[in-house]
């Protein structure tokens, strides 16, 4: 009888799932799996830190729509992976994490590099497995990919003790799915679809509120057709940017805490909210008691638990948002587009009268928004844009006109600073032919910038616009607004780190820009370099704040549009 080792089975199972790249860091307990990986066509990217490996898998999954894979050892490696797992759970990113574990004979004995990985990650994964029988490996890996990619996507972890990796099994095929409790609903209920259509027909002030579900379900074409046929203005959440063309006449921008005036206000005045793949996050709703007070809600989501969690829906529809939009378009059939002229005139006047603003004095300090708009112009918007978390992320969301899905990669729900550098590497690995531009802040960047070494060593020529204001800008903004400008613990120092030199030390090209006039040429230069990563440090005004803003827990009827609205 032909047998293979558990380790060989893991690699073979990954190959069977179509995996062509994994991001990882080796170590004691996972070593058996690294040996067959050496002979496999699967490429291994050696991250500098396990958190990096996890975010790379996420960036890859965002950019490609495929399942990202990371592989690390036991103990501290697995605990380092907790942040990317929690991030993937919050933002519904399909990844599979393979972790080594101490031998089953040592489990529970506080062995070297032992951590209770499945226990620790139970609430940071969609599902996880602790494998105690080598025969289970092929099916478990198959199930892990199935669970990660279907329904509401998310992270799945497979924990593999070293003796299980070294044991032998008979490879069987094809793999089985034994998941009696897991049957995601894809089709929307036909009666609900008809009810929804009726409500849409009778609405006078509809707003389509679309989120990350549109991207995950590859439903952006459906969304555009649906919006045009129903003549309803569209707002997209931070996670949904790119799911609807940013230059479309019906697009109002992002709603919420740092949303555009038009998007936030349209929701407040709407009589119907068509919520597609969204979860009524607090950054969108502000105080939910005052959110969309006049609107009936049609809520479409693949996760039934999201419907009614924050806001009761008059018409709940559980299903894949792409499939449900297809059904709605079929049901809409030949109805003419409703005449919402009065409503559309209103929302468009809000948009025209309240653009996102900033002032760049040609001789004054460099403004971060100017850098981002210049980047948009110089790239023609043709790039995959990745960000970290903080002010730079909001400025990018507000000033970049995302027009296609999977071109905007950031950490929304968990707000994971440090997401940027490794996610950009993962995105470049998934889309090597595309320009991948990371817009990062100095605080966020310094949480994972060791992965620059991964980018240059592994040949991922990402580009980085480092918005250096020398502070934890979002924290500072809140301290300015709500804590009497007492900057407790938020100052990093703009000159502490020589970022171009840091980049050069890690095999990248480094540049520094301090005046508005240097911005364009530096970006042009970065776009001409494709054989190694490039970092441009933009030294910007630390006092610049993100506006519009609705203070946390406030009503979305009270939007601070700019510094002039503050007393």
């Amino acid at each position: 009888m032909n047998t293979i080792s558990g380790a060989q089975a893991v690699i073979k199972a990954l190959e069977r799932e179509g995996v062509d790249i994994v991001f990882g860091v080796p170590g004691g307990a996972i070593l058996p799996a690294y040996d067959p990986l050496y002979d496999s066509p699967i490429r291994h990217v050696l991250a500098r830190h396990e958190q990096g490996a996890g975010h790379m898998a996420e960036g890859y999954a965002w950019a490609t729509g495929k399942v990202g894979v990371c592989i690390v050892t036991s103990g501290p490696a697995a605990t380092n992976l907790v942040t990317p797992l929690a991030n993937a759970l919050m933002d519904s990113i399909p990844i599979v994490a393979i972790t080594g574990q101490v031998a089953t004979t040592s489990v529970g004995n506080d062995a070297f590099q032992e951590a209770y990985t499945t226990g620790i990650t139970m609430n940071a994964t969609k599902h996880n497995y602790f494998v105690t029988n080598p025969d289970d490996i092929p099916d478990v890996i198959h199930e892990a990919f199935h669970i990660a990619a279907t329904g509401r996507p998310g992270p799945v972890l497979v924990d593999l003790p070293k003796d299980i990796l070294n044991a032998h099994l008979k490879w069987h095929k094809p793999p089985k799915l034994d998941l009696p409790g897991y049957k995601p609903t894809v089709e929307g209920h036909p009666r609900r679809i008809l009810e929804a259509i009726k409500l849409i027909e009778s609405a006078h002030r509809p707003v389509i509120y679309a989120g990350g579900g549109i991207i995950k379900a590859n439903a952006s074409d459906h969304l555009r057709r649906f919006a045009e046929q129903t003549n309803a203005p569209v707002v997209t959440t931070l996670m949904g940017l790119g799911g609807f063309p940013g230059t479309h006449d019906l697009f109002l921008g992002m709603p919420g805490m740092h949303g555009t005036y038009a998007a936030t206000t349209a929701i407040q005045k709407a009589d119907l909210l068509i919520a597609l793949g969204v979860r009524f996050d607090d950054r969108v709703t502000g105080n939910p008691d005052f959110f969309a007070p006049h609107a009936s809600v049609i809520h479409v989501d693949v996760d039934p638990a999201e419907i009614g969690k924050v806001r009761q829906a008059e018409i709940p529809i559980v299903g894949d948002v792409g499939r449900v939009l297809e059904q709605m378009l079929e049901a809409w059939a030949n109805r003419p587009a409703p005449d919402h002229k009065e409503w559309l005139d209103r929302v468009k006047s809000w948009r025209a009268d309240n653009p996102v603003r900033f002032d760049q004095n040609p001789n004054g300090p460099l403004k971060p928004q100017f850098v981002i708009e210049e980047l948009y112009r110089r790239t023609g918007g043709d790039a995959i844009v990745v960000s970290g978390v903080g002010q730079h992320q909001m400025w990018t969301a507000l000033h970049w006109k995302f027009s296609r899905p999977r071109e905007w990669i950031n950490s929304g729900g968990l707000g994971t600073m440090g997401f940027g550098v490794p996610a950009a590497i993962g995105a470049k690995a998934g889309a090597p032919e595309r320009t991948v531009y990371l817009i990062d802040g100095d605080g966020s960047f310094q949480m994972t910038h060791q992965e620059l070494a991964t980018a240059s060593a592994e040949g991922f020529p990402i580009k980085i616009a480092l918005i250096n204001n020398g502070v934890h800008g979002m924290v500072r903004q809140w301290q300015t607004l709500f804590y009497g400008s007492r900057y407790s613990g938020s100052e990093l120092g703009r000159d502490t780190v020589n970022f171009p030199m840091l980049a050069e030390a890690m095999g990248c090209i480094g540049m520094r820009v301090e005046t508005p006039g240097e911005v364009g040429p530096a970006i042009e230069k970065s776009l001409s370099i494709n054989d190694r990563p490039v970092l441009i440090e933009f030294v910007v005004d630390p006092d610049e704040m993100v506006f519009p803003m609705v203070p946390a827990g406030g009503s979305n009827d009270q939007i601070i549009l700019g510094p002039e609205d503050l007393e």
């Binding site: 226990g119 599902h127 669970i147 009696p180 409790g181 638990a305 009614g308 969690k309």
Partner: protein, 165 residues
């Protein structure tokens, strides 16, 4: 806070109890009691969970997200038989013994261990009945008490009208 009884069928796999209890804790639902045991199908276990929650919709939906949860049924007195077992050691110092035994007789509680100054009773029945027994013997002094937690099973819906309870 309202109590709700959930009958949850789960895959009989290691760690499922931890997943269920951890999820309830994470989402802020308080477990009043939880009883778990095998079903006739050896691959499936049944958990009877009594939770304190203002409403059950979120609890059910969140539990359903667990991959190992196969089926969830909400039960109540009208649609299900609910039972509980309790062992109660009651103090029977001095003249109290006959009084205690009289209460026990009314509740069909069985003396399962008789000591010099205590008697342990086994009482079984609906949760209300078990509670009532405990409250009635409390004045005599409860030395020790354990409850099984509620177990429940849905009634046969088709023949419900025929059944007198």
């Amino acid at each position: 806070m309202n109590q709700h009884t959930l009958s949850v069928l789960v895959e009989n796999k290691a760690g499922v109890l931890a997943r269920v209890s951890s999820l309830l804790a994470r989402r802020g639902f308080n477990i009043h009691s939880l009883a778990v045991g095998p079903t006739a199908d050896e691959g499936i276990s049944r958990m009877t969970i009594v939770v304190d929650a203002p409403e059950l919709e979120q609890v059910k939906k969140q539990l359903h997200k667990l991959i190992n949860v196969v089926k969830i049924t909400e039960l109540d007195r009208a649609t299900a038989v609910e039972r509980e077992i309790s062992l109660v050691r009651v103090s029977t110092d001095g003249q109290k013994r006959s009084d205690v035994l009289e209460v026990a007789t009314l509740f069909d509680a069985v003396a399962v261990d008789v000591g010099v100054s205590t008697i342990m009773f086994l009482v079984t029945g609906s949760p209300d009945k078990v509670n009532d027994f405990v409250e009635l013997v409390r004045p005599y002094g409860i030395a020790d008490l354990v409850k099984s937690g509620r177990v429940a099973l849905a009634r046969d819906q088709k023949s419900r009208k025929l059944r007198a309870i």
